[in-house]
Symmetry: C2
Subunit: 337 residues, 2 copies
């Protein structure tokens, strides 16, 4: 608990045009809240920074309600209980489910899930064992459904979602090809994650590089970025390909979206393109945690984290993730464990 | 059988650039073929003209092999057996399954299906009870899956596929809105097919007309045309919408395809876009015929045919269907029953 008894929160000051800048956000202070009936107050340890947050800054509503000017930014956290009016939680418990770019949150107890102590690092509950991991799991198993010997491509392959998606597809026996930004990321994707190949989307001839990495065409695509990467992949889809549309981060800062692909190929190739949002089926999150926790424990499911210190740096972290500046799951350490 | 003992066939003379013209085709004559072992010779009664045929004229392969210069044009027919080396067929039998823009075809017997005499008009086996009807059935029941109260939109609504698709969706209890070209077609779609509304795609403000016809947004879209119609519909899709991608006839004459929709909405709205080709699952055709034959017999499943006389008019008929000149299922009567 803050010595001063004050809570700090990052609020939206103005809607960014293009790339979010520091001036679009402000920090406000108020008293650390009390727990009302059934509520739990948590001290934020880690805050997750994810590309979807850019959508919440837009005037128009996407799939979730936009954040209004003056409102606290939204985001998943791992926190420690400091006060509880829910008998299921006691001070000291570590939980996920509290939200907000703030040092303390107050949350109905029924939305919180306790994290076992002594298990996986707490930060993983926001990444490989959290929403990004479950997103990868849902997209790969419900939409892409890679079969042994098929070619599976994932963009933003070194990111929180892409890195897990590729590893799940690899376990299914697919040839897994990542697309990532820069040599360092590609090297990690191949050497550490064990993907069969990785293509740098900044290469001069992305289509040719991709063709060379996918000599049998592409059967599954896990889409995180859109734009020229999407165009290059779509050109090389095989008949009966499955495309899991998870995100299109390359355009999140755009005011108006560029034209997309002509969809004639979807007919002739019987392509299946499916958008999804993991929160539509919360049970998948629980399922994924049970499945993946042993893989994290035995080291067979790899992950990488990019941790920024200090709540005040969250806005800059968001700007960074939208341009791919981070390397691995991006987190803000809001306070020490 | 032709008195002269000659067969006439329409062959491809040159690949059309843009709209096919008469000079792209030629008529060749040869002897009426004999039936080899297991084969059946048929005299063509009706030839089906369908938009997909334009794709076969392209240099590059789509989902089927391109027709080569000098080759006979492909197409579904209803024919009468004139000679048979397959014990399952005797002269006089009426069959579907023989292919080709020609007065006589020779076909392995196993590819033919006998049509019961005295039932539905023979021409319907190329339309409402044939490939177009089965296509509508597959797209609506496997992809669109309209539920009671949902809004179902189909383009080319007065065509062979669209007219059936809408009627199937109507039976499922959906609000069904057609999109068609011109007041005559729209009137027929509403008055005869019983769709809830029909929008003329030539209207000045297609988006507004469509919004007015679909006050609760669009849950299902059966896509036959692409282009500006697709853009208008995609703008109004609801969350969890299903799009059956059957064809995009508006661009079949284009040498290079125009850009398409930005696919960001697919993520946020969890849209399902699925291409399909009915011939991938021939069992659906059989299923559809059993299901729909009683509806045709009792008059509850409506259809309209646009019959052109004479094989030599088939090329012009194809040109016409690509610009929507036909009104209803387009057929060429090649010879009298």
């Amino acid at each position: 608990m803050s010595a001063s008894g004050l809570r700090r929160s990052v609020v939206l000051k103005s809607r960014p045009r293009g790339e979010p800048v520091a001036e679009d956000f402000g920090i406000v202070e108020d008293a650390i809240p009390k727990a009302g009936p059934g509520e739990v107050v948590t001290r934020t340890l880690f805050l997750s920074i994810d590309p979807y947050m850019r959508g919440r800054l837009r005037e128009e509503q996407t799939y979730a309600v936009a954040i209004q000017i003056g409102e606290v930014m939204t985001g998943e956290t791992v926190g420690q209980v400091v006060a509880s009016a829910d008998p299921a939680f006691v001070p000291g418990d570590i939980v996920v489910g509290a939200r907000g770019w703030q040092t303390h949150s107050v949350t109905p107890g029924e939305r919180l899930v306790k994290i076992p102590k002594g298990g996986a690092p707490l930060s993983t509950y926001l990444g490989v064992l959290g929403m990004p991991g479950a997103t990868a799991y849902a997209g790969v198993t419900e939409i892409c459904k890679p079969k042994a010997g098929e070619t599976f491509v994932v963009s933003a392959a070194s990111g929180a979602v892409g890195s897990v998606a590729g590893q799940i597809a690899k376990r299914a026996g697919a040839r897994v090809v990542g697309i990532a930004g820069g040599a360092d990321k590609c090297l990690w994707v191949q050497d550490s994650l064990g993907f069969d190949d990785c293509v740098d989307h900044r290469s001069l001839d992305l289509g040719r590089e991709l063709r060379s990495a996918c000599p049998n065409g592409i059967d599954c695509y896990f889409e995180n970025v859109g734009g020229v990467v999407q165009a290059a992949v779509f050109d090389q889809l095989n008949a009966f390909a499955r495309v899991a549309m998870c995100g299109m981060v390359s355009q999140y800062n755009e005011h108006t979206f560029p034209a997309g692909p002509n969809l004639g190929f979807v007919v002739g190739k019987r392509v299946h393109i499916q958008g999804f949002i993991v929160s539509d089926r919360p049970e998948r999150m629980t399922e994924w945690r049970s499945l993946a926790a042993p893989w994290v424990a035995d080291g067979s499911l790899k992950y990488r984290e990019d941790v920024i210190d200090g709540l005040e740096n969250a806005p800059d972290a968001l700007t960074g993730i939208l341009s791919g500046r981070n390397f691995g799951k991006l987190l803000v350490r809001v306070s020490a464990e």
